[in-house]
Symmetry: C2
Subunit: 278 residues, 2 copies
């Protein structure tokens, strides 16, 4: 097709959303539909493939610190495909610009002189809040939200747990494996031990799980969310809204004012003003 | 339709994304398509109406502090429509859970015993970052992102400007009218006066504008973005990526590695390591 070949190649970084295929944007969908090559991560919902059945799908996924395929290799693959093919989509979970190592891939394209665009998406923190029906900001008392990775690497490349207290609501990504340690760190950083903590795994998917805790009991969430992509929300944005709190005290998920089936497990040790229905 | 009437009424809070109609999610679109009533804000892209042409569209928009229709009235309208009709969609700009006063509307529904769901979306901070092709997190040095409203009200209900320094990258919503004051406050809060600041208005739309500044020159952005929904990104996430910085020094938008036409105006007073092409 000479018409297409006369245009410069273009790589679209498409944010797939947090897991469920229907949380991609229309713009992202449109880029997928015209893609010839899709480089995707292992965590991407396989249902997204239905939108680009004729494209070549290449798994460049890496999980946690296993890094089954290193970033440098992904960068090289991206440049190779973009040089060879028009309609290359680099599909990334959540929003590509939040903990997606997007900058490394963009810089590889820039170095090769290849144009690109970024299609934004739903990041996991927002999907988790929506899953529980709890906004991350609250008028008058929840004016800032910090998105933070719970895991970083130290100078020797070893994983270290980071935590702090910088905003009214803090949302921790990639915290699933270290909930007990995260709870201790947050207490050390100045959060009261009865601070509301909401743990959500596979947010936006049919089997999403939402559980309520207090900071001192956060470790209890580890088994429930084990092996699932997990987001931890701490502070104002984790607090149930007025009547919803009553639902959380209800033993069955049927009592919840949510369309999707959600299990909310209240921490039995939780008490205080916030847990009393208004 | 007796089948529909036997189901409980359900309100879907649908996040419309930051402005462009194609940044809504597929799930949000699907809710719109089956809606009978849509309560929307003035800022919502009119093109979204095409997805629900037979629904009754009700403008409940309010802008800034004008509050042309008060929140209490919106809450009441929402409950009235949800009681009367199935398929009520409450469409909100950006992500409903970020500075959307969602909690007040949810609590009104809870008080009336009306079930609801929240469909998450693309919040303005992410759309702004995508518009400029700059991720908000950067590996190793940009590990946290704070979303903050620049404007709050004091005890007397008067608008006050808030600012701080709590994360590697801070994104300020609703800052467009007070850029000079925001710049001064951020300097007072400890940000160096040559900190990179990116101002984006109408992110994601065809006429989006991206401009680069240093903190001390932030006031210069006021005229350029005047009267447009504006997001201000400060710190690591505002820094151009390696080669992109060279593009920002280029006088024409054509030099940019972006698919959509974007104007990046480099602050002439900006200097230092970050502005030198790698």
């Amino acid at each position: 097709m000479p018409d297409e070949r006369s245009r410069p190649p273009l790589v679209s970084f498409v944010s797939a959303g947090p897991g469920a295929a229907d949380l991609i944007t229309l713009r992202g969908l449109q880029r997928l539909q015209r893609a010839r090559v899709v480089l995707f991560d292992a965590l991407t919902d396989p249902a997204l493939r239905d939108h680009a059945p004729k494209a070549r799908w290449i798994d460049v996924g890496k999980r946690g610190f296993c890094d089954s395929m290193r970033q440098a290799h992904i960068n090289a693959l991206l440049v190779q495909w973009a040089t060879r093919e028009h309609g290359v989509v680099r599909l990334k979970g959540g929003d590509a610009g939040i903990f997606g190592r997007l900058e490394e891939e963009i810089e590889a394209l820039q170095a090769a002189g290849i144009p690109y665009e970024v299609v934004p998406g739903v990041t996991a923190a927002l999907a988790a809040a929506a899953a529980a029906g709890r906004p991350l900001t609250r008028r008058g008392r929840g004016r800032s939200v910090a998105l933070t990775t719970a895991v970083a690497t130290d100078a020797r490349g070893q994983p270290v747990l980071r935590s702090g207290r910088s905003a009214d609501t803090e949302v921790f990504y990639m915290a699933g494996r270290q909930l007990a340690a995260l709870g201790r760190r947050l207490q050390a950083a100045g959060w009261p031990d009865d601070t509301a903590v909401m743990v959500v795994s596979r947010a936006g998917c049919a089997d999403q799980l939402v559980s309520d805790h207090r900071l001192h009991g956060l470790a209890a969430a580890a088994v429930l969310h084990s092996g699932r992509p997990t987001v931890v929300t701490v502070g104002v944005g984790a607090q149930a809204l007025g009547q919803a709190r009553a639902s959380a005290d209800c033993p069955t998920p049927a009592g919840l004012n949510l369309h999707h089936e959600v299990s909310i497990i209240a921490d039995n040790s939780a008490a205080g003003a916030a847990s009393t229905p208004a």
